[in-house]
């Protein structure tokens, strides 16, 4: 099991909170934890209408650059689900709450990778990001490298279903 994960708490306009958790290999150096959380948070931030409230790697870190305000119409029940195939064949599912609806193709439930912010997050999931000259790449919970995003689709939470 992977022992390291970056987590991001997202708050919506109704003050509900939802957490995004992205595992990384155990070998991820502690020296890049804070910069890594900040960098990945900046990839998530353009995707969401909620506010990134706090984040960390087992401990919360200060992330002053994101802007804490949640849009009034943001909702943690409105999510985009990413399905990413890992090297071991398992499918890692990752949900981004308070997703900005402009990240979907108009008239569709599919994520729009012609949006630069979504394409950047997509490439981060597949290829990782270089932080302080160190490449960090997310994994699944088994520590297996994430290789390919197979889908990104609308995933409304249970409370939004009628």
């Amino acid at each position: 099991m992977t022992g390291v994960a970056f987590f991001f708490n997202v708050v919506d306009g109704k003050n509900q909170t939802s957490t995004i958790e992205i595992p990384f290999p155990n070998t991820t150096p502690a020296s890049v934890f804070i910069a890594g959380v900040d960098a990945v948070g900046q990839l998530i931030n353009p995707l969401v209408t909620g506010g990134l409230k706090s984040a960390g790697v087992k401990v919360t870190v200060d992330v002053p650059t994101w802007g804490p305000a949640a849009a009034l119409n943001s909702d943690v029940q409105e999510k985009m689900e990413f399905g990413i195939r890992a090297a071991n064949g398992f499918l890692k599912r990752l949900n981004i709450p308070t997703i900005d609806e402009t990240m979907f193709i108009a008239g569709s439930t599919e994520g729009d990778t012609s949006e630069a912010a979504l394409l950047a997050f997509n490439d981060f999931l597949e290829d990782g990001i270089t932080v302080s000259s160190t490449l960090i790449q997310p994994t699944d919970v088994h520590g297996s490298d994430l290789e390919q995003v197979e889908y990104r689709t609308e995933n409304w939470g249970r409370r939004r279903r009628r």
Binding site: Q42, R85, S114, L119, A120, D123, E126, I129
Partner: protein
């Protein structure tokens, strides 16, 4: 042209089915329409487009990336839209999956993120 697929089942005209795994090289005996459906599953906005059209879009996307060096992705998307090739944008994912281009994400010290694409040498 090659398709990369994992356990994709393609229905055959006589209600038989076949499973394709790993790297699939297009073979003439596979029904043309079914290949389009396969692409459709991966790139929704290419529904109904011919293979020739898809090749044209891939070429447009690849040509927008310099032969040497890298280009920032927001600028690349802007260039494709400005040149009337917005339809080619989804093909960037296909080019990356086929190993023809590669992505780079770097967190700068000023807090910004640099996201670039470059061609893979020899691809």
């Amino acid at each position: 042209m090659s398709l990369i697929a994992k356990n994709v089942t393609i229905a055959h005209t006589k209600n038989h089915s076949m499973t394709i795994s790993n790297n699939l090289t297009l073979i003439l005996s596979i029904n043309y329409t079914l290949i389009i459906e396969f692409y459709y599953n991966r790139v929704t906005r290419l529904r109904g487009k011919s293979l020739a059209k898809i090749d044209d879009l891939q070429a447009a996307a690849l040509n927008a990336i310099p032969e040497t060096g890298e280009i920032e992705v927001p600028l690349l998307l802007q260039n494709l839209r400005a040149s009337g090739n917005a339809e080619a944008i989804p093909m960037l994912r296909e080019l990356k999956r086929d190993g023809k281009i590669k992505a780079s994400l770097v967190a700068n010290e000023d807090g910004s993120i640099r996201h670039t694409y470059s061609r893979v040498e020899g691809a």
